[in-house]
């Protein structure tokens, strides 16, 4: 498989963010929560505080780095949940067909029809704000796309010779799904997941806007950005850096997904002689 420029750009951005998140405790100059000194609030970027400080007097650079942890957790875990639900339902529905498939398709349609932001809002209202609830809310709301993709992939893979062969060789349904179908549809699922990660990061920001985001004082880009919107004139740096971080991360995930899709798509593959 050959990857294009977009893929590598996306992979680099994503890797950067992942490293920032993992290394935050070592590379961040301050503590993200307790190093708050109101005497230092809203300082513009300088030698000590490279990205300036926020309204609480906390270092924006530190919080942006730590924010990567939360945002990545949100992106990755919620997509894991999504993919798990979507793949399980989609694959079994597509494979077994019948009433189960009808049920899965129906449920998928319902989930598509209920606006996801509102569904997430409701789930959060039930569970109360906080990271675990957020992960569940975002994880429960966006699986319908994955499910559709998984289902149609399964339908087309099901008729492939090797799946038939597996049946004839005596493989059970579960074994066929896990060893024959799942590995072969990971491509599109992965693409969906990477694209979904970007939108999960954004959804977190949107939910912060409504006041249901991450539990403070843990830094998340979404809540940093939301809190900073009042300060856009007074202290623009508080918004700029987490905003940039979100932008680059979502861009990274999207380019990664696009790149993956392009290299999986036979049309886009340049044939080598």
């Amino acid at each position: 498989m050959r990857f294009g420029f977009n893929f590598w750009l996306g992979a680099t951005l994503t890797a950067l963010v992942i490293f920032a998140g993992i290394l935050a405790p070592w590379i961040a100059p301050f503590d993200p929560v307790f190093n708050a000194d109101l005497m230092n609030s809203e300082l513009p970027p300088d030698a000590t505080f490279w990205f300036g400080t926020d309204a609480q007097g906390r270092d924006v650079l530190t919080r942006t780095l730590y924010g990567a942890q939360i945002s990545l957790t949100v992106g990755i875990v919620s997509q894991l949940i999504n993919s798990l639900i979507g793949v399980t339902l989609g694959m079994t529905g597509g494979y077994w067909g019948g009433w189960w498939d009808d049920l899965v398709s129906g449920l998928t349609n319902v989930m598509l029809a209920i606006p996801s932001l509102i569904f997430a809002l409701a789930v959060l209202a039930v569970l109360g704000p906080g990271l675990p609830s957020l992960l569940i809310a975002l994880g429960l709301t966006n699986w319908s796309w994955t499910c559709r993709v998984a289902r149609s992939s399964t339908l087309s893979l099901k008729s492939q010779g090797y799946v038939q062969a597996a049946k004839i060789l005596g493989y059970g349904d579960m074994r066929i799904m896990f060893t024959q179908i799942l590995p072969n549809m990971m491509g599109p699922i992965l693409v969906m997941a990477t694209l979904g990660m970007g939108s999960a990061v954004l959804s977190e920001a949107a939910l912060s806007f409504i006041g249901l985001g991450i539990q403070p004082p843990s830094p998340s880009w979404g809540s940093m950005l939301t809190d900073a919107r009042q300060l856009i004139q007074l202290a623009p740096w508080i918004a700029v850096f987490p905003g940039l971080a979100i932008f680059l991360t979502v861009l990274g995930f999207n380019l990664l997904g696009d790149g993956l899709r392009d290299s999986l798509d036979p049309h886009m593959r340049t044939r080598k002689p």
């Binding site: 309204a55 539990q215 403070p216 300060l231």
Partner: protein, 509 residues
């Protein structure tokens, strides 16, 4: 003094993106009061110059010697927008409607000051015994005690409606009142337009032809719209307060008032450390309150010295607030047996001046004396729910503490149920004695002295971390005149006194 007639005022409603109903009697929220203030009038009203309730719909009143019975001589020139003149029947009708158990209106608790109202509210009596029509223009009301009924009956939720409207549900869409402006249009989710009422009972008023009350919940949007001169007034949040103060074009047109809200963290004695007064005091000592007010709230608040706010008649100007003294806090904690501190949860809403951001700011301060704070963010709705059901370790809230100091202090009276504003389940026999004395005292200044003493007692006992009293700030366009600093709620302005001058842009004319 140069008042101009005519023009349109574009006022903003900042408390949501919706007017839930135009039936003011059915609404407990400030948002709808913004309309009620234009359309409706209640028996009393708040006089912000005298800082007390005054008669509005009655020309005069006679009070019985025991102070329980008031006889009102109603205004003869007051006419409803539908042409009906005001009579005693309208008041009886309105109060019965508010208290009607079928309706379950929030204003019922204000009507409860009238004798027999509780029986009526409970559905045990077909009438409110304390309400007696003498003649068309005279009404006698018997109250449950020698209280000042003005504090209750000036509320917008006790607005007087005409008794001749057949379809009561129409009040929700086509309100009819006695106010200076007539309801004209409601674009749900967008705005309410009212128009000058020619037969308003106050001579020569109102000045304006129209008021558009536009919904605008988002601060940032309001800021842009205000600078863009699309709206005439804007309620400011802390950051915009600071920005506007620095902006030479805007800084001269800011209206500030100390509002009667006290903010702070209520400590639940159910949590063991909070049973010790020294721990509660330690918390007050450990937090640098003025710094938070200055840096985080941008001085859009006054550091609290106790429960009663600045504009309260019983406010003690000489009382010093808790000093910022971490060493003392540490010592007190050690004394109380918590040398290594302890951990507690603060239930708080997302509000920027009395919500989670404040908890984030005190978090490192309390950490320094060894106390670990964990914010527990909840929605505003849920906050109210959890506080009134005593379901918290501590909570950060903004609680009305005026204008009537007596009812404000009632919140610490041990007989006040927890759910009814004694949120920290405060019980002190010393306090109870002072409060009961104040309740009996008919001389306002002596009553104030007693209440002041009670307030200082509460401050010393520290059932709360006393944070601040709100400073409400309103920015207005230079062409707007007649705004008043109302300590109850700055956003509620006497529309009938407002006028705009000739420098107003064409769109306002």
């Amino acid at each position: 003094s140069g008042e101009h007639y005519g023009g349109t005022l574009i006022f903003t409603a900042p408390y949501g993106s919706n007017f839930a109903t135009l039936d003011e009697q059915a609404s407990p929220n400030t948002q709808e009061e913004l309309i009620a203030q234009a359309i409706h009038r209640a028996l009393y009203s708040w006089d912000s110059t005298q800082n007390k309730p005054v008669l509005e719909l009655a020309a005069s009143e006679d009070v019985s010697s025991d102070g329980n019975v008031h006889t009102y001589h109603l205004r003869k020139n007051a006419i409803f927008h539908n042409g009906k003149p005001l009579t005693a029947d309208d008041i009886v009708y309105s109060y019965k409607r508010i208290a009607n158990p079928k309706n379950a209106f929030p204003g019922a608790s204000y009507i409860a000051v009238i004798q027999g109202a509780n029986e009526y509210i409970a559905g045990k009596s077909p009438d409110i015994s304390g309400l007696k029509k003498i003649d068309e223009n005279t009404l006698e009301i018997t109250y449950t005690g020698p209280i000042d009924p003005g504090f209750s009956l000036m509320q917008n939720t006790t607005a007087i409606y005409p008794s001749n409207v057949k379809d009561e549900s129409s009040f929700a869409t086509h309100p009819v009142g006695l106010g200076p402006f007539v309801f004209k249009a409601h674009v749900p989710g967008s705005q309410v337009v009212v128009e000058k009422f020619d037969k308003y009972y106050k001579e020569g008023k109102p000045y304006l032809d129209h008021i558009n009350i536009v919904l605008m919940a988002e601060d940032a949007t309001r800021d842009v719209a205000f600078r863009n001169k699309e709206i005439d007034v804007s309620i400011l949040g802390p950051t915009h307060y600071e920005i506007y103060q620095k902006d030479p074009a805007l800084k001269d047109h800011l209206l500030e008032v100390a509002e009667v809200y006290t903010r702070g963290i209520g400590l639940n004695p159910a949590l063991k450390p909070f049973q010790d007064k020294r721990v509660r005091q330690a918390i007050n000592y450990a937090i640098n309150t003025p710094l938070i007010v200055q840096r985080l709230i941008k001085n859009k608040a006054y550091p609290a010295t106790g429960w009663l706010p600045l504009s309260s008649p019983a406010f003690d100007k000489n009382k010093a607030p808790y000093a910022f003294d971490p060493a003392k806090a540490k010592a007190l904690l050690t004394e109380a047996g918590y040398p290594d501190g302890f951990e507690f949860e603060v239930t708080a809403s997302p509000n920027e001046s009395w919500g989670v951001p404040i908890v984030e700011a005190i978090l490192p301060m309390l950490k320094k004396v060894g106390i670990t704070v964990k914010p527990k963010p909840v929605e505003s709705t849920v906050l109210g729910d959890q506080v009134t059901t005593n379901n918290f370790q501590s909570f950060l809230w903004s609680i009305p503490s005026g204008p009537d100091p007596l009812s404000a202090m009632r919140c610490f009276y041990s007989k006040t149920p927890q759910s009814a504003c004694n949120f920290t389940s405060y019980a002190s026999s010393e306090f109870d004695k002072l409060f009961e004395a104040a309740e009996q005292e008919r001389d306002p200044s002596k009553q104030s002295d007693l209440l002041r003493e009670a307030n200082n007692l509460v401050q010393d006992d520290a059932p709360y971390w006393f944070f601040n009293y709100n400073k409400a700030v309103m920015a207005y366009q230079p062409w707007v005149h007649g705004l008043v600093p109302d300590a109850n709620e700055l956003a509620i302005q006497p529309y009938d006194q407002i006028w705009i001058d000739e420098i107003a842009p064409a769109s306002r004319k």
